[in-house]
Amino acid sequence: MLRNLCKRMFKRSVWVYHCNTGACNGCDIEILNILTPYYDVERFGIKLVASPRHADAMLISGAVTRPTLPLVKRAYEAIPSPKLVFAIGSCASGGGAWFDSYNVTGGVDKVLPVNYYIPGCPSRPEAILFGVALALGLVEKEAAPIELKQVEFPIDMYERNEAWKKRNDIYELLK
């Protein structure tokens, strides 16, 4: 539903506003990196703009810290509707390693409605490009094939021994 809406709403160029709410610079550099010749995001009509008032979408990097919390809300309100919010990197998606530290509020979703999460520490430029293109309906969503997914956690040593013993018990019973 959101994707159909996006396709209709953001038919032409999407201007994005980049907002650092307490990131380590890693994701910010990758966001800047998608402007440079190898990735060249402008060919999709996506442009990084300076003011939230000109923007259609917001790229947020970093866990939201206590001082930036009211500020990021105000920046969000300044973007005209309809608007999209992308949380870029692990910190923005879930708060990162410091999600519950004294000066950190958590991930962006604690503060704003997030539409798309782009994982990675830092997110690769390809991932950011793919995420934005996915939102705009330029590409189809891809899921990893089943065999690449880790279906269950590896059983640790003690449990494995236990399981082995239990299995042998069954064999004992069968005898």
């Binding site: 980049h18 907002c19 650092n20 709410t21 307490g22 990131a23 380590c24 610079n25 890693g26 994701c27 910010d28 550099i29 990758e30 800047l32 990196n33 440079t36 010749p37 190898y38 300076a50 003011s51 939230p52 970093g62 866990a63 810290t65 206590r66 001082p67 930036t68 919390l69 009211p70 500020l71 105000r74 920046a75 990162g96 390693a97 410091w98 519950d100 530290s101 004294y102 000066n103 950190v104 520490c121 830092p122 690769r124």
Partner: protein
């Protein structure tokens, strides 16, 4: 030299010196009583000591005191002097050393916030690190305060910025401001177009990393968290932390691991300097440099991915060594890539060397004299562009730098242009070091298993030369397999304090490039922008206007 200094201490301070302790080859700890701290600092400064940072720590559980360490570097003689003192937690008052040493200002303000210390005669005892709505009386670095304590916020608590000098207007810049890329707030006081002063409210990316690592994780995880202090100079922090713990615990790591650390540090330096060159070009409106520098840099990012599995935050450094080896195949790969980067950088270098528009924007801008640079304790390319010959790789060799031959470029133009040239020249030196590392790398283990526990309550300090200057890490080892205190002092922490001086009497349109010339990295500094609507007289300026103004500067006479 060291004997003379000790004699000086004995003569001038008499019984105020509690003890002198020498832990390793290059660190001397001097315990003094709290009344003597300012005199002790003055003795070290007179002997040529450069102030690095202050470290406050909580020792209440052990003897009811708060400790404070002022660390100094003797660059000529390769050793560090740490003046330790303690004050009782009930009456944590000591004399400020900031009137003598302006670069100590932030360190003292930080521990006013974080530990509740009080410094008499501090020229600007304002809040520095904590949020403005953080209640008074809760000091997050004290042990009794849990790491996840979040006191309720209050609305409409604004930072009290300095009074504007008479006849000036305030131009607020930030927190979300595209020429900064990170949330920080500057109030710039202007008279017409001329900057007459500047106040800074930062530490908005303070994430409480130090507290987190002192309470939650173990030594194994800290290097990886240290890498995430900064996305650009991550390896630097991981290496510095590991070295500090190794130094405290007396761990000797294999030579090959030291070589691989050197390699990663130099790769990081190239990528950071190219990044800076691009951003600087962007800030003065020369986007071709931005695109070209980042295009050249991109190959290095791909190389890092082949080398370590990630484009940044490499995760290579551990306490006791490194995680991945460099095989001969990958060594050839590195050689080929850095050779190509050198060729392409020379093209860019030739293009900007004689470019009159870059000269117009950067020459004679952001000037401070060598004496001022020494007084403020500037470090890194910012200091080397002001004729201060300081480089931790040469002055306090760590990892494999004592085997390397390299020059430290020092220029005396004292402006933004010379910081640009210093950074480009350093990139060539970094490439030279990488070739040497690959040629000389010894074979052997890359990791040493730690058999014993790391002993508790040992103090250690190390410095690592980050692309922006020297990063200082101070570690006090703790009992629960984690550091008791870990203090990170990133290079921007020192350099940023001198920015108001660089901005003084400059044109407002030059603000972005002067700010950019120190290669600010606020996330390192803070381990921690919107417009200040509180003050009615302020006029907010969008980035577009500022960028426009910045580009207009091009056409000035």
């Amino acid at each position: 030299m060291r004997k003379e200094l000790e004699a000086q201490f004995a003569v001038q301070l008499h019984d105020a010196v509690v003890c002198v302790e020498k832990t390793d080859q290059r660190t001397i700890f001097i315990d003094v009583k709290r009344e003597a701290i300012r005199r002790a600092a003055r003795i070290v400064t007179d002997a040529g000591g450069r102030y690095m940072c202050g470290v406050g720590y909580d020792n209440i559980a052990r003897d009811g005191t708060l400790g404070m360490v002022h660390t100094f570097s003797m660059d000529q003689n390769d050793y560090f002097i740490c003046i330790r003192t303690k004050v009782s937690a009930i009456d944590p008052v000591m004399e400020s050393i900031t009137p003598d040493l302006p670069s100590a200002g932030w360190s003292e303000r930080e521990f006013m916030d974080m530990l509740g210390m009080q410094f008499t005669n501090h020229p600007k005892p304002k809040r520095l690190v904590l949020a403005d709505d953080w209640p008074a009386g809760i000091y997050p670095l004290r042990k009794e305060v849990p790491y996840d304590l979040v006191p309720p916020g209050a609305e409409d608590v604004a930072y009290q910025l300095d009074e504007a000098p008479p006849g000036t207007r305030v131009v607020p810049i930030g927190p979300f401001h595209p020429s900064l890329h990170e949330p920080e707030h500057f109030a710039v006081y202007v008279d017409g177009e001329t900057i007459k002063g500047c106040d800074y409210r930062g530490f908005m990316t303070h994430r409480g990393i130090e507290k987190l690592c002192q309470t939650q994780v173990s030594y194994n995880e800290v290097p990886f968290i240290a890498e995430r202090i900064c996305g650009i100079c991550g390896s630097v922090h991981a290496t510095a932390f590991s070295q500090a713990v190794e130094s405290a615990g007396g761990i000797k790591i294999p030579r090959r691991a030291e070589y691989i650390r050197t390699l990663m540090l130099e790769i990081e330096r190239i990528h950071s300097h190219l990044l800076w060159l691009g951003v600087a070009g962007h800030l003065i409106g020369f986007d071709t440099v931005f695109m070209q520098a980042w295009r050249v840099r991109e190959q290095l990012m791909w190389l890092c991915e082949r080398l370590t599995g990630n484009r940044k935050t490499y995760g290579m450094v551990l306490i006791g060594g490194v995680r991945r080896d460099i095989t001969s195949a990958i060594a050839d790969d590195i050689r080929a890539v850095v050779k190509k980067i050198e060729e392409e950088l020379r093209v860019i270098h030739r293009a900007i060397e004689k470019d009159s528009s870059i000269h117009k924007r950067t020459k004679g801008v952001g000037t401070i004299t060598k004496e001022e640079a020494i007084a403020w304790g500037l470090i890194g390319p910012v200091a080397r562009a002001r004729g201060v010959d300081v480089d931790a790789r040469r002055d306090h060799p760590y990892a494999a730098y004592n085997d390397m031959k390299f020059d430290v470029p020092v220029l005396t133009d004292c402006d933004v242009w010379s910081t640009l040239v210093v950074r480009v020249l350093e990139t060539y030196e970094a490439i030279r070091i990488i070739h040497q590392v690959l040629d000389k790398m010894p074979s052997g283990e890359i990791f040493v298993e730690l058999k014993d526990k790391i002993p508790a309550l040992r103090h250690a300090i190390t410095t690592v030369e980050a692309p922006r200057g020297e990063s200082t890490h101070y570690v006090i080892t703790g009992e629960d397999n984690r550091p008791d205190r870990w203090r990170v002092r990133a290079p921007t922490y020192t350099n940023l304090q001198a920015v108001p001086l660089m901005l003084l009497n400059e044109q407002f349109g030059d603000f972005p490039i002067i700010m950019g010339s120190i290669d600010p990295c606020f996330s390192c500094t803070d381990r921690v922008a919107v417009i200040d609507l509180q003050s009615g007289k302020a006029r907010s300026m969008t980035r577009r206007e500022l960028e426009f103004l910045s580009r207009e500067q091009l056409h000035r006479p």
